[in-house]
Amino acid sequence: MSRRLWPRGLRARLLVAFVLVTVLGAAAAAWASARSASTALVTSTQQQLTSAFTGQIAAITPQLTYPPNQGTLDQLRAAVGPDTLVTYQNLRAADGADTDLVTAGLRDAVRGRNRLVTERIVARDTPWLLVGTPMVITAPDGARTPSGIEVYAVRDLTGVEQQIDSLTRSAGITAAVAVPLAVLLALLAAGSVLRPVREVRDTARKLAAGDLDARSPPKGVDELAELTVTINEMAESVQTSMVAMQRMQADARRFAADVSHELRTPLSTLTAVVEVLADTTEEAEPDARESAQLAIAETHRLVRLVEDLMEVSRFDAGTAQLRLEEVDVAGAVRDCLRARGWLDRVELVAPKELRLRSDRRRLDVVVANLVGNAVRHGEPPVRVQVSATREEVLIEVTDRGPGLPESVLPHVFDRFYKADAARSRTPGSGLGLAIALENARLHGGDLTAGDAEGGGARFVLHLPRDLEDR
């Protein structure tokens, strides 16, 4: 099926169907009426010719002598008119060139059936009517014997043929005239069906595109109006539930943000005073000292957790913003490692003079998270490799540890996902990778996790190079 024979659009289909039905109907009607008219015409012409022929023969018969001689035959032929042939045994009287059209078949039929026979033939591109009749002698007692005289007439039917042709032509014209009318009617009908359908379609498109206020005004009381009403009701219920869901989602997010925000005030106090505690632990008893140290460590962990929560709620609310500047990638990565004291533990491979428009702080957050995970959960050597293609800059972090188990891989970017229960004591918030991924996406990039070639985990940060100012 390379080409569709049946058109695809509803409008085209309606149009084709309509026109086909109309034309076929009109043509059939016209053809049928032309047929019956032409049949009637031929029949009446034939009857007319035949009755004239027999009338002429009947009128001359009393003056004829029997058995006939050539004179008798000529007299008879002249009475019947032109294009006539009269035969008696071997005698013939003929007039007009067309009498040779009388066929042997006709003559056999006349002799055989012993009554008037007509035949229509076409010869020399002209239709003809052949009439043949035997003459019968009727005795006074009513007995009929064939006289042996046969009279044949050849009549031209061209006039009738022309009349029939014009009938057929007018039938064709009638059908042709019906076509534009049918197209017009089809367009009107298609329009009345299609307009509401199209309106419903447009509404459905708007709904699909997220415009939940879209509605179609129903017109009339037919099935299409019912469909419109149904679509409107559907949109209404979708909108209601969407609004409710959005409100719930917004409430949940706001709650998370508010909680984190509220936590910050007591944390500010704690952060301020644990340093004082740290200074005083020197002269305290061992128990008190350890308690103070625990309080300090946990306060810092709580601060980190709340900060990460705030960051996540900003991503969720869509208020996280990129602050783009020209960043020397190698320098930024090195700064990140230096700030956290990892320079001697991590192997850094980075090209010089690779500049990228990116958010320096967010880049730092991602690199610190990836390298921090590798240092804490993996085995040395931890390696950071910066490379670039035409489209993007890649920052790859690998280690030689056990790598990521198959079961962990799909969840590695989930929030609060701890790969290993024994590791839940590590000083992470459980949000680090989720935040790193969000940061990558905010740049229009991505963060992928997998296994390195020589074993160990491999994380790759993809950052596009064509970030325009936002």
Partner: protein, 224 residues
């Protein structure tokens, strides 16, 4: 050792910061609202104000603007981390620096000392550029002979830039030199300070001739 005014509404945070900064050797006075803070400012004449953004009554931004209008005392704002609105608002209001809450006293102390240290770069006397006169010894600036009051941070920024006319400084370099942020500070500190400096010394801040922007890289001092 500095006389610090801490304006913070939450009593526990206020007390905690007062204790911690006190241990770092500062003399800390406190106020719990912006209005009280402004009164205290006039009465106590502190070296520096540490100002919380979220205050009942007049908020931190407005307090900061009024402190700026009253004089050149440096302001460090306590903002919520990364709440861009807070940071931008605070910087636009004329804060010299900001520290995100919860603030570690050691970090806050380092920032306080850095702001207070913002004196001269290298005293080399008088720098004259067209209508701008900059005396690095007395730390005064004048335009067309009229003195222009600058905050310590603005002064330090102008000194750094004009110390090497024509040289392009990246925002990161300026953060390290002027603000002494060891690492990954906020480049908006630089941008906002440049805006404020331009408003004071440029004839047309929209077409600056002294502090010029080099798109994508940073700032340089003109005219060349």
């Amino acid at each position: 050792m500095a006389a610090i005014l801490l304006i913070e509404d939450d009593p526990l945070v206020r007390r905690g910061l007062q204790l911690a900064l006190g241990r770092h050797g500062h003399d800390v006075r406190t106020a719990d609202t912006g209005e009280d803070g402004l009164d205290e400012l006039r009465a106590a004449r502190p070296d520096l104000v540490v100002l919380d953004v979220m205050l009942p009554g007049i908020d931190g931004f407005e307090v900061c603007r009024r402190i700026r209008a009253a004089g050149e005392v440096p302001v460090i704002m306590l903002t919520a981390r990364g709440d861009d609105f807070d940071v931008v608002g605070g910087l636009a209001a004329g804060a010299d620096d900001y520290v995100v809450k919860p603030a570690q006293p050691t970090v806050l102390d380092a920032r306080i000392r850095a702001v207070l240290r913002r004196g001269p770069g290298t005293p080399d006397g008088l720098r004259v550029h067209r209508d701008l006169r900059l005396d690095t010894a007395s730390l005064t600036v004048s335009m067309h002979g009229e003195p222009v009051p600058l905050t310590p941070t603005e002064m330090r920024l102008l000194l750094t830039l004009s110390g090497a006319p024509g040289r392009v400084f990246s925002r990161q370099q300026l953060l390290e030199t002027v603000w002494e942020h060891d690492y990954l500070g906020d480049s908006r500190l630089v941008d906002n300070c440049v805006q404020r400096l331009r408003a004071k010394i440029e004839a047309d801040p929209a077409n600056p001739e002294y502090v010029q922007t080099v798109r994508g890289f940073g700032y340089r001092f003109g005219p060349l």
